[in-house]
Amino acid sequence: MSEREQYIQAEQELVDKVLEGDRNAITTFFETYRRLVYGVILKSQFDQSNADDLFQEFFKRLMENDWRKLRGWNAQSRLSTYLVSILRNFLIDEARKKKDTVALDDERALSTDPMKEAEKKMDLRTLKQKLAECCRKLPERDQKIYARRFVDEASTTQIAEEMGLTPNATYQAIHSTKARLTRCMKEEYPFLFSETEEPA
């Protein structure tokens, strides 16, 4: 059995016990994930002023209807990934309900049940799609820079020659392209990127 399978098996045993109402398992579950949940709430760009309330509300929702949301985990992804997915959707939902100033795109606005989006929001394909979306928002020149640098893996020198830029301007252009993409990704997945705002 691979390491990953061992983890997932341990997670599965833990969840099974939580669903059975085992108090030790519930305690372990809570102790294991409370920092992750709290950290994601704080890192999110939604309403941070009531992180404690959101924290409690999230766990309350999780256990509602006989832990319905936890039962939605299918043991294909890691439990932590799944929890962060539904937490993220919960936060979007909360922000929408409160008519927060956070901009919600159409896809989010259509979401009425965070569970429906749970499994598709943190996987590789979805993240790649999100990056492609972010890329389409770049100015035309930066889209070219992105394609050459990150897709084709062209060197700085190659890009400079092709685009008629000085070395310094190329560095700047790559930097600003990467910075815009990171910022765009962080709007939805702040917990997947560092706090660093790389200086130009």
Partner: protein, 333 residues
Amino acid sequence: MADNEKTLSELIADYFDGRQSQEDALERISKFKGGIEAVRDYRMIRILSQEIDQPSNSPSPDQTELISFWNEGLPLARMLEIERHLSEDEQLFDAYINLRMDDYVMEVEPSPEVSTSTLDMLLSNSKAPEEIRQTSAQSSVSEQSGGGWLSSIFDKVFPSRTSSWGAGLVAASIALLVLGIFNTTDEQNDLLFLISDNPNAEVRLRFRGATTNRLALTDSGEFKSLSMALEPRLKEAVISFSKNPKPNRMEEILSVLRDAIGKSDISSTERAAAVRSLAQERFSGLQIAPQLWEEVSAGGAEGRRVSIETVSVEKNESQSDKATMDVLFFSRD
């Protein structure tokens, strides 16, 4: 432009262009606050940008190698191979984003009051009869769970959790177990050690192998001790480990040591053997001398010469159990 005038973004661009040795590049990048993190973000964008038309031929990384990847601790060619694997393997990518989340969001926690009231709410709805429970304000979760299911998981994943390093070790193990940060094959012990900020809490040393040489190796060529300046990267790595003693953070410390060994003027064969002996799996943790810890935790000690040794410590305080484990020991030189 002189290399030492380059900005972080220029250095990162050069790093990915392979314009200078990996070691030099990382050393310079790590001098910037958040430098390594910026490299990781860059890599994330690269991983998500790759269009895979045919599967990789190279071996897929295991968890240990993934942690080294996270720490930029593999040769560049291998880093690129792993990027490709991450870009095409959903499960591997899942493990990778768990590493990222663990590093980026696990530094905070809710107040004990909020934790307790939330846990009370969860338990108030449990169907099972009352059993012993405890919150984060108390100590170990697993120790009171007896020989039940939790114990069986731990026996399986942590076969050697018999140390006397404290209840917090086991509690932290639970988080790490499920977050999947460290190696868990049955042949390997769990890596965990809670660095102490208590000057009276030094472990009992059974063996001290240090010498006053800059770098000392054992007869078989393994790393024994090293005297070096506590450079910012190393200091940050130690502080980071003290906050959250996880294997990937130990790996960062070991990576600094490997770099230092790489610069030493011993033969390449000796260097290779010494570097090999600094495998993360070998170490159960880190111990720091109270005086040095006092300085480090107060924000000082940067540039101070420190001695770093491999020491063997007793796993258990029981007089009858003399089992030992290796830890890295930091002290003032």
